[in-house]
Symmetry: C2
Subunit: 343 residues, 2 copies
């Protein structure tokens, strides 16, 4: 038996937040507190993933997860990428818009070799042989879905659980096809997916309070995956400018401006000016804008970097991660008791 | 004390569904079963509202509600409407794209005179004097909101409860400003609004099961407002072509194509072909397309009429409304008990 979300002491999964916020110490703190911590293995080299795994295991003997992006499909139309690059001329030095597979196979082999308790995938289904290799390593395979059709496909691919991602979620949409994204609100999506498949569900998107955790459990999920509301945790490596933006900015929007793949972030200048021009071209656009984003981080410019955030980001609180986990669990119990009195 | 959603035997509000589905017999059946039935008073003449009120009261002595559209603001740019009309040339005979206020004042006076238990508003806040007149008649004033900012404004306007409408909802978005709509998923929106105001909340959008009802109660709502999942009720006057589309079509989208105001409907030919061209111009565009929609209804053409539906519409079941109310309540209790066991 692989690890199931229903085994968690507290039904709280810390979302893998690529590009910075997720750290081994955050993942370990969440797991130690009775939730499930997650590392984000997208964008980074296999050697860095190996180091992160060792670091988590130095802090905790408990189960944790690692998220991997499913391999991108075919390269995008180079002309579309060039047209977008032309609109970014005034932003600064651009990167080479190359297509690559983010060393998917090497990282997958590493995760199986390391017998990671849970591996979740975003952007599609791994191949049957890959799922089998993970199962042989004792690893639970969780697939991210945004529509009932994706849920059925994921169940057919051998998933042990589904991460059901509502349109509220911050960061990249997990849609299998970026050109036909699921944009369904979490509560409706949980009902539709619950109706379509029998697997355990982990609900993701806009959950930032214990009441939200209670709500998704009532809607049939086994656990809640929380991202933005861990971004102000002491252990998160969220940039100062990003932390400040989470507190001070309000609106979020879906955009391909930063990576060529739809993601939700706080509205800022770069998103507003370039969102309409950006093609569906991942990872080419991510490489194209990488130097711009690096420069923005260096000069602390919140208007030129990607500020991933979910729709309930303003409810994020600063605290140690373990305290957040315990608070979510306590509030969830209170919320359920209150709802039961109402009924 | 005006009527509060927490007084309901079952925390189920039947959404007002304008343009057909809502009938006095549906509203009365829901109220008789322990929920709260609703009439839709938008689009129709005061005399018709008066008849509907008499019909509900012939069937039930229990509380019910009536929904009124807040008065539209200033007329839209006539040139934008003319441009849209030009794109509709091949669809058939168009109506005159006139601006009117849907006889708002006359209907409001009627509702106060009739001492309707609950009046809900969509598209904005009534004036302070109007809220006072309704309160003086013993009427509870519920305002529809789609953002935390609208919730604060509605609380300031004297609302007794808020209908919190997530982006999942079918039919018109209740946004105060169609040019700056709230597109927040219900669960995130409930958390944000719960944090912003103290009023009782009625959660709306994508709720089609008892588990969904349980979820919004856990999230802090006093009741769930359900639309699409009542559209196949025996007592609903949903058109046969619309009923069939609810069962057979999958995807929904937000569009201004039919009325000039953003609404969610099943994707069909008219929506796909004209959605991108339609301006924000309500009620002008509604009058413009009225003959097209009437003709589509006559010839049973689901590809040319507005097929309002929420994101969980495929879970709607055919049954008498009272049975649906009881089923939602029973399932909600079971869902809460199950979630409590998990925690």
């Amino acid at each position: 038996m692989t690890f199931s979300p229903s085994q968690l002491e507290h039904p709280i999964v810390q979302a893998p937040m690529g590009g910075g916020p997720s750290t081994p110490v955050l993942a370990a703190a969440v797991s130690e507190a009775g939730g499930l911590g997650f590392l984000a293995a997208g964008y980074i080299a296999p050697a860095a993933v190996r180091e992160d795994l060792a670091a988590v295991r130095a802090f905790t003997g408990r189960a944790f997860g690692v998220n991997l992006f499913a391999p991108p499909g075919t390269p995008a139309d180079p002309a579309a990428v060039r047209r977008y690059a032309a609109t970014l001329r005034d932003e600064g030095e651009l990167g080479e818009p190359r297509w690559d597979d983010d060393r998917y196979a090497a990282k997958l082999a590493l995760l199986a070799e390391e017998r990671v308790p849970v591996v979740s995938f975003t952007f599609g289904c791994p191949a049957a042989a890959e799922v089998e290799a993970l199962h042989a390593a004792g690893t639970a395979v969780w697939l991210t879905v945004t529509t009932p059709a994706e849920a059925r496909e994921a169940a057919g691919a051998g998933a042990d659980a589904l991460v059901v991602q509502g349109v509220e979620a911050g960061g990249h949409r997990g849609s299998f096809d970026d050109a036909a994204p699921g944009e369904i609100g979490l509560l409706a999506l949980l009902a539709l997916v619950r109706d379509a498949v029998e697997l355990p569900l982990v609900a993701a998107g806009g959950i930032a309070t214990g009441a939200g955790v209670a709500a998704v459990l009532a809607a049939g999920a086994s656990a809640a995956q929380i991202g933005s509301a861990f971004m102000l945790a002491e252990e998160a490596a969220t940039l100062p400018a990003h932390r400040e933006a989470l507190r001070s900015r309000e609106g979020t929007a879906l955009t391909r401006a930063f990576t060529g793949r739809t993601a939700r972030g706080l509205v800022n200048r770069f998103l507003s000016e370039h969102g309409d021009d950006a093609p569906s071209a991942y990872p080419e656009v991510a490489h194209l804008t990488a130097p711009l984003r690096a420069q923005a981080r260096e000069r602390d410019d919140a208007d030129a970097m990607n500020l991933w955030a979910g729709q309930a980001h303003s409810l994020a609180r600063e605290a140690p991660a373990a305290e957040l986990v315990r608070r979510f669990a306590t509030e969830a119990r209170e919320a359920l008791a209150e709802a039961a009195r109402r009924l």
